[in-house]
Amino acid sequence: MAYQVLARKWRPKNFAQLVGQEHVIRAIANAFTSERLHHAYLLTGTRGVGKTTIARIMAKALNCETGITAEPCGVCSACTQIDSGRFVDLLEIDAASNTGIDNIREVLDNAQYAPTTGRFKVYIIDEVHMLSKSAFNAMLKTLEEPPGHVKFILATTDPQKVPITVLSRCLQFSLRQMTPQQVAGHLHHVLTQEGIPFEPNSLNLLGHAAHGSMRDALSLLDQAIAYGAGSVEEAGVRAMLGAVDQSYLFDILAALIAKDGAQLMVAADSIASRGLSYEAALHELAHLLHLVAVAQQVPGAIADDLPARDNILSVAQALSPEDTQLYYQIALHGRRDLPLAPDEYAGFTMTLLRMLAFAPAQPGQVTLSQPTPVAANPAPVARPTAQPPQATPVQVPPAAEAAAPDAPAETNLPWAQEAPAETSAPRDFDGNWRGLVSQLKLGAAGMLAQHAEVSAYDADSISLRVAAEHRAVATRDYQEKLKDALAAHFGKPVALKVEISEAVADTPAAQNQRERAARQLEAEDSIQNDPTVQALVRDFGATVVPDSIKPL
């Protein structure tokens, strides 16, 4: 029972051990080395990228007995007590289980007293977005006039739910998701240190499956070690992840193109009998259809060395672009709705049959380079009456999938690497501020950019307006950073003017907000217009709770 899971055992104890957050660590280390300290920091990023870990290392860096340092010693009593969770001047508050105002007030009332043994009283508030409004207000009072001995380190997976008044008082660091390569590299290190035998390819699989989260990766690695009874082998990891061999997917596509329902079920069964994951299968199928769609639009975009290239091109020929798009949508919806089917097998097969039902009237043939069983004639199954493709409740353009947190690592695709090389040939600013901002590396100064609208510009200067309520983000510091980023982007100095104004509407933040609201409305709309729900509302006076609807 003394087993400590890898995610816990290998939680980094100092900045040097952290993987993948060099940009943030360099900034923090510089600040600490030169003792330029802020009183509040906000760490943002998705799950398992190191927010709490960094917060704890910062607590050590602030309180290490060797002095404020980017390299806490790890052996003094402050460092060791923080590592073992016994340091009296470090308060870790879990906002998610302390949403009440009383609790927070009690904690903050305590802030005025000097630290007991340490240099600073450090408050780590995890999942800070879960605080109630009144708790935020209570915290704001302390943030506005913080005692010199108090440091706040806030962490959240969802910064959009943190009030701007709090955001603007924090020095913000956004942690990145780890690349599959970074994850695999770290797993390699952990396994070597643990003396556990492994096959390197298995680590690549785990690296992708972790979706950018080191904790996910280490939890999966624990599972893989148990699965492999003490070693990590590629075949075992593949089986454990339910990773789907693309040949099954091409069998499915071939059966769809041939309009052969019986054969389609045979292909589905081969996935079932191998214990592969239906969710992974639909995910991979959507991804493959995405590639097919790319091949249809830009035939040259599929890299020559992609193993499935020939098959993708064959399918791209045999399917119409409309059907490809439709199948893609159906795959996405089918994956989302798996939990609403009587069981997963049913949800999976029904998704495939739905594609079949919407297939074109003429069965086709696809020539695949591997020997793939394709029925010569369509099976004598009942033909569904021809129906126009019906709109699915919410349309999801491919871009939305790419933006989803667990989307496949699109950047590894050959065509994704050929992103428009805008940076190599800087053009003058065209007035599209939001588009420009998305290309700049701004860090915390991004808050200024997000809350600014362009009032005037020419080739060498940009004038911005910031609403009075967001005055706090228009600091000189952020303006300088923004100016530097603009100069770096355009390859020449750009004069920047920032003025505070009353009515400011066209900022990237406001645009994002409006789009989110529109998507929400659309989602609510599609629920409200859903025939079943309409019937419920009409017949029983049911109401739809808008907050319960999430856009896709």
Partner: protein, 342 residues
């Protein structure tokens, strides 16, 4: 207690025992409903709390730890479920009330105290959460810290029928332990051993899940379902108002009736488009008569998913059934309800 341990769980148990020295503090047991995940979780909990484990890696069943556990009052064990299901028997998974069953944040807060107190007995403490997806957002968020770094000796066992509905932050803190749906032959043998006359058929009704199949075979509502399927198998003679009233009078769970209808429609579509029947092979002839209209039913199946999602809402049951049955008839006639929706 081995005799009450389902035979198909033996490989899963072996797998757990084999990796014993690496048992994590948070295990997420996943799989289809009705295959005995809860039983496996309880067996593991008992084993963790047993004070005289047997050499064959099973709990002894006789020590204080085992006796308390089996009596349901071990001081170092907590079960967190949406409702008080203290009388949970073998086929516990099918029983649900007409109320959205949720695990709320208060339950988690109580757990914090339990987890942080010194254990009463040997040092192990076990928390079993089932189903984990019943935690609402604030409960799940409140659970995170505890789940990641519990005090020494605490083990969390989460059971989930639909792990995709869990917060990713919960999932990422657990080691997943998938339990497969048992092979049909093993499940059928076990059902036959429990006096089920036509095990293959009941397994089909439940998509292969043996505990659910046992419920299916023993259910009081069996004649009601037969009658219901008989009605929808003859749409021309279907008396919607009468059938809806009959169903309401039977005081069934809305979700159960939605499940019957969903499986029926699934079979109709699958038979029509691919020649397969999954759930009701005993109704083949009736399904075959209607299967030519399979293509019309896809939109209706979407609506059924929504009904499944809403099945816990305390809506007027009779009207829900009427609406579903009218929808079914219209779909068969080729007039999908509503516009702009599949």
């Amino acid at each position: 207690m081995t005799h009450s341990f389902y035979p198909w769980l033996a490989p899963s148990w072996k797998q757990l025992v084999r990796g014993w020295e690496r048992l994590p503090h948070a295990l997420l047991i996943t799989g289809e409903p009705g295959i005995g995940k809860r039983r496996l979780a309880e067996f593991l909990a008992q084993y963790l709390l047993c004070e005289a484990r047997k050499p064959d890696h099973t709990p002894c069943g006789e020590c204080d730890g085992c006796r308390w556990f089996l009596a349901g009052n071990h001081p170092d064990f907590r079960l967190l479920t949406p409702e008080d299901q203290s009388d949970a028997g073998e086929g516990e998974e099918a029983k649900t009330k007409r109320k959205l069953p949720l695990i709320k944040v208060e339950g988690i807060r109580e757990l914090v105290d339990f987890v942080n107190l010194t254990p009463h007995r040997g040092g192990s403490k076990v928390v079993l959460v089932e189903p984990a997806e019943a935690m609402n957002t604030s409960a799940a968020n409140a659970f995170l810290k505890m789940l990641e770094e519990p005090p020494q000796g605490v083990t969390f066992i989460l059971v989930s029928h639909h792990w995709r509905r869990l917060l990713p932050t919960i999932r990422s803190r657990c080691r997943v332990f998938p339990v497969p749906t048992p092979a049909a032959a093993v499940a059928a043998d076990w059902l036959a051993g429990h006096g089920v006359v036509n095990p293959v058929q009941h397994l089909a009704h439940t998509g292969g899940a043996p505990l659910a199949a046992l419920d299916d075979a023993r259910a009081e509502w069996l004649p009601l379902r037969t009658a219901f399927l008989g009605h929808i198998a003859n749409p021309a003679a279907l008396d919607v108002l009468g059938v809806a009233a009959e169903l309401e009078k039977a005081k069934l769970d809305t979700g159960l009736v939605v499940d019957w209808l969903q499986k029926w429609v699934h079979d109709l579509i699958a038979l029509g488009l691919s020649g397969r029947i999954r759930y009701y092979p005993d109704w083949r002839d009736d399904l075959a008569r209607l299967a030519s209209r399979a293509g019309n039913l896809l939109g209706f199946l979407d609506g059924l998913k929504e009904s499944r999602r809403l099945a816990h809402h305390p809506l007027n049951q009779r009207l829900v059934f009427e609406s579903l049955l009218f929808g079914y008839l219209e779909a068969l006639r080729g007039k999908p309800r509503g516009t702009g929706h599949g």
